[in-house]
């Protein structure tokens, strides 16, 4: 009880320290949704529900698309985590409205469940009943959780600093200088790994910190590059967003209950909204994903490895919309892969793109390790708990030394924040 209270105060204080507007807007969303849900027992239930959803969505859209900046002279910064907590609040309102669970009675419990700091930065997008249970009912603080948590934090940091940071040097180089052709192919393939290492690394930090506190949050990834189709990819990548879109957009639209045509329309709308959630320049990315989910299954072959490689290529090509903020430039770049066949040039210049041979070796070793550990996550977790404290310390120590030694940070490197904290 006391720890939770401290956690709430700390979350709000840190959040406010990053900008007072952060605190004001999250409090607005928390208070409107909390009291609105309480009023769902009244006659005006539907009206209150719609108004609250619109109000919170408007705040989100205003900031997300900088409409606020364009119609006023204020230059407000987008409140941190607004994309994540708005979805959580909307799901809470819908669940309570549909009587999936009763409205929360305790304001401070509701406040902590929404404003719980670690997941505000990068997700995962939690459902209210699940995060409340994780914080208040199923919380277990013990040495095992502490060790698992701290190991995961450092694992996440090593993904971010050793893999993502290293690849970023190349992808930034290729996107900011006039490269074309197969350099673009190299960039999108590498960006796939960069984004995964960055995003899942960030999630590892969030889940690890929560684990230290005894809070078990849901996983957001499940070996996404093992997917044999784009549809499967969305069950393995950013799981919390995929689940949210499915439960609160796709199924309410009718899902697959009204024939193939309606199902496809519903899919397109769902992925359109997924793109919109990322930002206006990601709309095409969302639509393309929708199309590949619709027809991707038909492209499947009997060979798993071919399906996996094919899915990886498709997904990678679509990250072009993340690499170039202008979707038309992104498409032009992808087009240059066909028109400008400069594979030999890429091979000859591979060590002139920002990474020396030693960096490539480090990158290949750590990326391979990442994929192996990813696949055997549960087994490793189990083994980590069983080994003697001495070995636990050795593993932790090696991780810290590796991060310090091979991480990309410090002067001369632009280590940006986690990519997905910008969404």
């Amino acid at each position: 009880m006391v720890i939770n209270f401290i956690l709430l105060i700390l979350s709000l204080l840190i959040y406010a320290s990053l900008g007072i507007t952060n605190l004001l807007f999250i409090l607005f969303s928390i208070l409107t949704s909390f009291f609105a849900a309480k009023l769902f027992k009244s006659k005006n239930k539907k009206f209150i529900f719609i108004i609250t959803i619109i109000l919170n969505s408007l705040v989100f859209f205003f900031f997300k698309f900088m409409i606020f900046k364009e119609i006023t002279s204020f230059n407000l910064i987008v409140p941190l985590g607004i994309s994540y907590y708005t979805l959580q609040i909307i799901s809470y309102l819908i669940d309570v409205y549909k009587n999936k669970y009763p409205a929360e009675k305790s304001l401070w419990k509701y406040m902590l469940s929404v404003a719980y700091l670690p997941h505000l930065f990068i997700g995962p997008i939690a459902k209210y009943d699940e995060i409340k249970d994780a914080i208040f009912n199923n919380r277990k603080t013990n040495w095992s959780n502490f060790y698992l948590g701290i190991t995961r934090v450092f694992w996440g940091l090593s993904k971010k600093l050793i893999i993502s940071g290293r690849i970023a040097i190349i992808t930034n180089n290729i996107t900011t200088n006039n490269y074309s052709g197969w350099y673009i192919l190299l960039a999108v393939f590498l960006y796939s790994i960069q984004l995964y290492a960055d995003f899942s690394g960030g999630i590892d930090v969030v889940l690890g910190l929560s684990k230290i506190l005894g809070i078990d949050l849901k996983e957001n990834f499940n070996s996404p590059f093992d997917s044999q189709s784009v549809k499967e990819f969305w069950r393995r990548w950013h799981i919390s967003l995929g689940r949210w879109l499915k439960e609160y957009i796709y199924i309410p639209l009718g899902g697959n209950k009204h024939g193939t045509f309606r199902k496809n329309i519903n899919l397109l709308i769902t992925f359109f909204i997924s793109g919109l959630w990322h930002g206006l320049s990601y709309l095409l990315w969302g639509i393309f994903h929708g199309i590949f989910v619709m027809f991707g299954e038909k492209l499947k072959t009997p060979f798993q490895i071919v399906n996996k490689i094919g899915t990886f290529i498709l997904i990678s090509l679509l990250w072009c919309f993340f690499l170039w903020s202008d979707p038309f430039i992104a498409l032009k770049m992808i087009g240059s892969i066909i028109t400008d066949f400069n594979l030999m040039n890429v091979i000859q210049n591979i060590f002139n793109l920002g990474l020396a041979l030693s960096d490539w070796i480090v990158l290949i070793i750590f990326t391979t390790t990442l994929f192996i550990i990813d696949k055997k996550q549960l087994l490793i977790k189990d083994k980590l708990l069983k080994i003697a404290i001495e070995f636990k310390l050795i593993i932790l120590g090696i991780m810290i030394l590796f991060i310090l030694l091979f991480g990309i940070y410090g002067i001369g490197f632009n280590v940006n924040e986690f990519i997905y904290s910008n969404f």
Binding site: A356, S358, D359, I389, E390, L393, I394, G397, L401, L404, L405, F406, G407, I408, Y409, G410, I411
Partner: protein, 333 residues
């Protein structure tokens, strides 16, 4: 109990590895970029100097204490480093005074033209001056006062944070000088025998403002105060380097400061003919720094001034300095 010992042992091994990595990755400045080792070489010296030079490269390249010893028996040491800024000179003087109390401190005034916003202030030069300093209050202060925006204090405490990416650039030097240091200077003087005469010096740019920055002037006052408190005579010098251009407006401000505070000031650019400097043969980089030949002429000239005008003991015959002189003569052959 056994478990506790095992855990302690593991922790000690990790701390050991961490310390070793820090040492290994930090540049040794032994055979390349030797300018980074100059400040630290002082710690191994006997601390009985009567004259201490404080300042930038215009000192360690132009003034040879061994020549001054040979010609006038002066025990001097140059605590100079590349692009040593005036605030850094203040802290290095402060640190020096913890080890010894010289009779004279000579400060090369060139760095007063710069302030903390100057483009000459850079992380790389900060490192050359600060990296190998011993930990003390002065080191903490010099870091805090010198850091550029991109630097962090922690990276000075844990060099691995700055130099971690050197893991693939390690050379035999890094292993050879892991536990030992190489003395590249002779009482702080760095020998350079190359000849690159002055040829087409750039025309001095007109500046918008020639006035010294107040903060930089404040450090000069602090240097003066420190000398006064310790009963040390402060002498200001401007080494006879022709580039970057020393403007007449700068000269007048230094003269005014010297007169106002009763400080002696020697601008050796004005004495260059008297010294006998031949700028076609006496510099190694086209007029920025004197080479061995030029530095020898200048050091003899200045040693005479010091001997004639200041109360310094003639230490000629001192066995330690005689040994040093032998080594020096061997090095300049």
């Amino acid at each position: 109990m056994k478990k506790a010992i095992r855990i302690s042992l593991i922790l000690i091994i990790f701390i050991g590895c961490f310390i070793l990595l820090n040492m290994l990755l930090q540049p040794k400045y032994a055979t390349s970029l030797v300018e980074g080792s100059m400040i630290a070489q002082y710690y191994d010296e006997s601390k009985d100097h009567e004259v201490i030079f404080i300042g930038d490269c215009e000192l360690y390249a132009n003034f040879s204490p061994m020549v001054m010893y040979e010609s006038a028996g002066i025990k001097a040491y140059v605590r100079g480093s590349s692009q040593q800024m005036i605030w850094q000179s203040y802290y290095i003087l402060k640190e020096t005074l913890k080890y010894e109390k010289p009779k004279i401190v000579i400060f090369n005034i060139n760095s007063i033209r710069y302030d903390k916003q100057s483009e000459e202030v850079s992380e790389a030069y900060n490192r050359l001056t600060i990296d190998q300093m011993k930990w003390s209050q002065e080191k903490i202060d010099i870091i805090n006062d010198s850091m550029t925006e991109e630097e962090t204090f922690l990276s000075y405490v844990l060099p691995i944070l700055r130099y971690h990416s050197r893991y693939d650039k390690l050379t035999s030097e890094d292993f050879e000088y892991l536990f030992k240091k190489k003395h590249n200077t002779h009482n702080g003087f760095l020998i350079n025998k190359h000849i690159k005469g002055v040829n087409n010096l750039p025309t001095p740019k007109k500046l918008g403002n020639y006035e010294f920055n107040k903060e930089s002037l404040n450090y000069l006052e602090l240097i003066l105060k420190l000398c006064e408190e310790n009963d040390i005579k402060l002498i200001l010098v401007k080494a006879p380097s022709l580039y970057p251009h020393w403007y007449e407006e700068y000269e007048q401000q230094v003269i005014a400061f010297a007169e106002e505070n009763n400080v002696d000031y020697y601008n050796f650019i004005k004495y260059s003919e008297e010294i006998g400097i031949d700028y076609t043969t006496d510099t190694y980089d086209g007029g920025l720094h004197l080479n061995l030949s030029g530095a020898t002429k200048l050091s003899k000239f200045f040693a005479n001034i010091l001997k004639s005008n200041y109360d310094l003991i003639n230490y000629q015959g001192d066995p330690i300095y005689e040994e040093k002189l032998k080594i020096y003569k061997n090095a300049i052959k």
